[in-house]
Amino acid sequence: MLSIKNLHASVEGEEILKGINLEIKAGEVHAIMGPNGSGKSTLSQVLAGNETFEVTQGEISLNGENLLDLETEERAREGIFLAFQYPVEIPGVSNLQFLRTAVNAMRTHRGEPEMNAAEFMKLAKEVSKQVDLDPAFLKRGVNEGFSGGEKKRNEILQALLLQPKLAILDETDSGLDIDALQVVSKGVNALRAEDRAILMVTHYQRLLNHIVPDHVHVLAGGRIVKSGGRELALELEERGYGWLGVKDEEATPSAAS
């Protein structure tokens, strides 16, 4: 489904990704782990098409289509979804209006009729329950005044509504208490499907106790330095990143990607 070949990307002239290779098949769940500053978030942003990052070399294709030729909104319509590490607050745009506009943009793209306000409200309320988000949040501004956990649940709510082919979850577990983590994990597990792939980007392995990946990759210094199965995550938990010759820069927040 997703094929990344020798991907290099830089921001303001500084190279962050230095040759990523990754193949993800439909139905698979992949986890990318790595210390802060390793390029995990950059990879997520580049996949979604953030223009702050410049792709200098390499290829990304989704089901054979060259993603790099597509604008962010076109990628989204082709099925790329990024759950943001830091969801953006947009006061003045209601969450409901935002979600409905997004869903209808997708429907229009697929040649389906738009959903009217009443139809959409019904759907949005149902899906809100799935992520344990009070429907009152639909009426508020997008993420406006939401707690960290509420923002993350709102991201998963969007994924459930938009039904992407590839869901990229960028540090979706960060800032969640154990209850919120379970709710979010339940939502992500509901996304698992034969025709959908999930790419989880995370620093810690605790999310992987709830959403069990098929493949685990370690990203360090802009490259994937090791790949393995589920057990790799457990090994990282036990031994840290040091045995891979990788320095964990967790203690220096300024190195956060």
Binding site: E71, R75, A76, F84, G92
Partner: protein, 428 residues
């Protein structure tokens, strides 16, 4: 030194022949006083950014003829008064005959009423600062005199539609005077529209006098075309415990200027002034507001938003003057501005003069662009660029649009906003 240019004598020709004698007399006096009136220049502080857009050519001096029925098609439900080229058109107007509320055109006033009105006109605005209001007083051909007796309540908004037709060059001078007695209530909507292509000028003055406890809401929607220079002034005087609310929504043109002056003269008075301005192309819009806290214990709340696209230019000048005796005044002024292109310009200036020591006075002004991170977030959900930009721009003014208390105005403004978004934002 070169003397400042003065108003052309072409603008001082006689007219007003359908006015009752006392008003005609007032008009003549005002005209005489205008001879040699210096026109605003770049050095006139309150016209610094706008004087070069004010083009008082002799062709504009001609009074536009009021032909009445042609040129507009209105389907406003409820109470309405239609002015065409500055003259009220009774056959297009429809308003109630209610106890305690008199809505009369100037031309229909008897001499006693006209004499009483002539005494009252020109007492709300500081005409040294609002030069063009003086021209209106010398040139109005007709006007609307609204009187509310004590405790009278108009049960629906009154729409006053000012349409000018630019089939030939000229000018129009609409005039409104609202006298709201104790505890009376009214909502007055002023809508400014135009048709035709020839250059025209609209110079308008609206005055509100609120007695104790009166409540007046004024909605002003400025949507004239590219051939229209619009210069307007609104003067408000408020007695104790009265409340005045203003909602101005304006779209740009070669010149749009509005002076809004409010005097809080009795304790417990409140005013709320909201404004939204949208400009594009090479348009120019200038809002000058002034709030005078004369009496103690009054509240004022002012919120203006400007959105400027292309190479357009918006100006906001907000003056708050708290007089020495106006203790416990509470004044809040906020002006936020959104630049949608690198060629656009916005100038904002808060002017605070505070002579009392026990007051709360806050002001804030910002100028910014659409947030790129928010835009990325929206498009990453498949939302198109045009729609995403529109959502973010609407978010900037939504709060003010939502507060407009008249649905028909909201709808008209939204339609015009949608045109603006279509012209301003493209898909990637």
């Amino acid at each position: 030194m070169k003397p400042a240019p003065t108003i052309s004598s072409a603008f001082l020709e006689p007219g007003g022949h359908s006015l009752p004698e006392p008003l005609l007399e007032l008009r003549k006096q005002r005209g005489t006083a205008l001879v040699d009136m210096p026109l605003p220049t770049r050095k006139t502080e309150n016209w610094k950014y706008s004087s070069r857009h004010l083009k008082l050519t002799d062709e504009l001096a001609t009074t536009l003829p009021a032909t009445g029925k042609d040129g507009y098609s209105l389907s406003i439900p409820g109470y309405r008064v239609v002015f065409h080229n500055g003259v009220m058109i009774p056959e297009a107007s429809d308003f109630p005959d209610l106890d305690g509320i008199r809505i009369q055109r100037f031309a229909d006033l008897d001499d006693d009423e006209a004499a009483a009105l002539a005494e009252r006109l020109d007492n709300t605005l500081d005409t040294r600062a609002v030069q063009m209001a003086r021209l209106n007083s010398a040139r109005f051909e007709d006007g609307l005199y609204i009187q509310l007796d004590k405790e009278a309540v108009l049960d629906q908004p009154l729409f006053i539609v000012h349409e000018v037709t630019g089939t030939a060059s000229g000018s129009a001078y609409p005039r409104i005077y609202v006298d709201a007695a104790r505890h009376s209530q009214i909502t007055v909507v002023e809508e400014y529209l135009s048709s035709g292509e020839e250059p025209v000028m609209v110079d308008t003055v609206t005055e509100f006098v609120l007695a104790d406890g009166a409540q007046v809401t004024n909605v002003r929607l400025v949507m004239e075309g590219e051939n229209v220079q619009h210069v307007g002034a609104t003067g408000v005087r408020q007695a104790a415990n009265s409340r005045f609310e203003s909602h101005c929504v304006g779209f740009g043109g070669p010149l749009r200027r509005h002076d809004l002056q409010v005097r809080l003269e009795g304790e417990g008075g409140e005013c709320k002034l909201n404004g939204v301005v949208v400009t594009q192309g090479k348009q120019h819009y200038d809002n000058h507001t002034s709030i005078e806290h004369v009496a103690a214990h009054c509240d004022s709340e002012e919120t203006y938003r400007n959105i400027a696209a292309d190479e357009s230019h918006a100006v906001f000048n907000g003056r708050i003057h708290i007089h020495e005796d106006a203790q416990k005044s509470n004044a809040n002024m906020n002006n936020k501005n959104l630049l949608l292109s690198t060629g656009a310009e916005i100038d904002t200036k808060p002017e605070l003069e505070i002579y009392a020591d026990d007051v709360k006075c806050a002001h804030g002004a910002t100028i910014g662009q659409l947030d790129r991170v928010s835009l990325f977030y929206l498009v990453s959900r498949g939302i198109g660029r045009r729609e995403a930009n529109t959502l973010l721009t609407m978010a900037f003014i939504n709060e003010l649009v939502e507060q407009i208390p008249v649905q028909a105005v909201k709808d008209a403004a939204q339609l015009r906003l949608n045109e603006f978004f279509d012209q301003t934002f493209q898909e990637a």
